[in-house]
């Protein structure tokens, strides 16, 4: 009831704002304070957008913010324009993901133009998340995560960059682009192992890198494991390393019982997450490749 009223009011405001913009285009108005007219129109679009928001009409709210952003651009206030585009993106996110991405991209263009790369990177992450959850286009999500990691690196905020890179690596591994995943994990691991705060998670990255090696080729995994142990001695003592050794042994003997036993033991202490489960399953499949298991799984 109340919402319908708000919506009507918002539509009225939009119409009014449009009138003002048109008026500012006429010759005489253009001479006398055309800009103030446009400013007023901006204000109105913003108010309309907020009312649409209250009425939960997300795409209309997004549209209103978009208009406001374009007017801000006309007025040369880049910063306001970018903020409005971000608002529009947030509103669209709930109704029309593709449009949300367009708006955020426009905002990113403005921010990169102004040299505000940290904020641009943040919005790249938002876009990547939309691709990840709403549109399920993992390739594009990866591209945006990579872009954002690049920007963060340029601004020396390495921990944010690493966060993005790890996402990229996880998806790359799921898409079976193991080489890429390995490179990222090794790089992040090498970066973090010297940091007093971060060295505790380095073993995790090496473990994941080794697992990716394992899926590609067993011998590579062995070599990689040796390399990691040399690079980062603390890795030898970790449960992850011991598990890897057991798995390698089991794989060599083509013993799926031993393999399962080792995984199970590891799982009983700390539960495997979904990524690890997927990867370990892929390795297990390669053991059973010539056995009867293959037929069953298909």
């Amino acid at each position: 009831m109340d919402n319908a009223g708000k919506e009507r009011e918002a539509v009225q405001l939009m119409a009014e704002a449009e009138k003002r913009v048109k008026a500012s285009h006429s010759f005489l108005r253009g001479l006398f304070g055309g800009n103030t007219r446009i400013e007023e129109a901006c204000e109105m679009y913003n108010r309309a957008a907020n009312m649409f928001k209250m009425a939960k009409n997300w795409s209309a709210a997004g549209n209103a913010f978009c208009q406001a952003a374009k007017l801000h651009m006309q007025l040369q206030s880049k910063h306001d324009s970018a903020t409005s585009f971000v608002d529009a993106g947030n509103a669209y996110k709930k109704a029309d993901p593709q449009e949300a991405i367009n708006c955020l991209n426009a905002a990113i263009d403005i921010y990169t133009d102004m040299g505000r790369f940290t904020i641009a990177a943040k919005h790249h992450i938002t876009i990547a998340e939309i691709y990840e959850t709403e549109l399920v286009d993992i390739e594009k999500a990866i591209a945006h995560y990579e872009q954002s990691a690049d920007y963060y690196k340029g601004e020396e905020s390495n921990s944010s960059a690493n966060k993005c890179l790890l996402k990229v690596a996880a998806y790359a591994a799921q898409l079976e682009q193991y080489q890429k995943a390995i490179e990222i994990y090794e790089q992040v691991g090498a970066n973090t192992m010297d940091n007093p705060l971060l060295k505790y998670s380095a073993k995790d990255y090496f473990f994941k890198a080794a697992l990716c090696h394992f899926i590609v080729d067993e011998l590579n995994a062995k070599l990689a494991l040796e390399k990691y142990e040399e690079m980062f001695p603390a890795f030898t003592d970790s449960r992850e390393c011991k598990l890897l050794k057991k798995l390698l042994e089991a794989h060599e003997e083509q013993n799926s019982e031993a393999y399962t036993e080792a995984v199970k033991e590891f799982d009983s202490i700390s539960r495997l997450d979904q990524w690890l489960t997927t990867m370990l399953l892929r390795i297990k499949k390669s053991i059973q490749g010539d056995g009867e298991g293959d037929g069953d799984l298909k």
């Binding site: 959850t133 921990s159 019982e257």
Partner: protein, 383 residues
Amino acid sequence: MSRDICVHTWPCSYYLELEKRWIPGKLSLTSLSLKFMTDKTGDTLVNFPLSSIIEIKKEASQFIFSSLTILEKDHVKHWFSSLQPGRNVVFHVIEHFWRELLLSQSGAAMDASSSHVTKGQELTGLMACSQKRLEDAATVLHHQGEQLDSIASGLDRIECDLDVADRLLTELESPSWWPFSSKLWKMPSDTKPSVGSSMASSKALGKEGIVIRVPAVIFQRTDSHVKPGSLTVLVSGLEIHDSSSSLIHRFEKQDVDDIKIHTHYEVSIRQRFTGKPDIAFRLISAKMPEVIPILEMQFSKKIELLEDDLMLRSARTSSPEEKDYSVWHAASRLMDCARLQEPSGSQEGGPLQLQMREPLISQGDTQELRQVTCIRGLRPPCR
């Protein structure tokens, strides 16, 4: 074949991507695969082995309806909604069977190992869990530390911009005909030394507080005006002379708005004006590496390092003792000059206007410099 027995079926609805609608039906799980059959026609719309699952998630469609999404190997996402009796139940059952694919053993060894968990195992589990949490906490802590750092540098930049804005505002606020405006106060100090200081600066190094003087090539405004000359860093500002050592321009310390360091050997100095073109000089000198640390001491906030300077930084940090030395050197020089300046200022009858208004280096500054030199001095010169 006994393994293919249906474990459970749940009534639910499935989302058809192409037609954009939900279809009611039944989701059935066997120990190795997942199937969906429609109620009406009995077609099997979905059928895939559990081993091809990448991810199982609880999500909400339209932000209201709880649903379950399963990501298949080729990144096909399946949406199941209005699950009976409840989403969580189905989620746990499917996840259990999926994990069991990895963990289950076909032999008899199964019951022996899984049935009882020893206390030691339990404790290790607890330990591993808390270790994991601590690792995560450390990562987050590091991340926040980085954010705080960037906030601090952002604040610094804001403060610096405010300084400039403040100066420009005071200039704007005072009407141009008002004889006591800050603009006019500055004018004489700008012009006066141009006559006097060419002699004064050549006369005594100590009196004017010259910290360093280097020969340089000068570009004024556009690149077409190239002249040889010299740059002099004074305690009170910067002076640029041409080859016959007559003054081209003098920057007072507070008038310099920004100094850009392009490379080791190239800097540009700028004073901004509203309504007038900026006064800007670009200087290239072989001895610039000696000057840059001094400039950094004097104009710390106004210095802007351009991209190439990352190289410069890394080059400098690669030889830390050298850097220590140069900073120490610069600081001690500045201090000496300041000390010389104080007595000379009181002795001379008609000191410069600028000196009247404020001491060249405040007490606080000297204190700070002294501390720096002390710290540097305490350290052995080469580590």
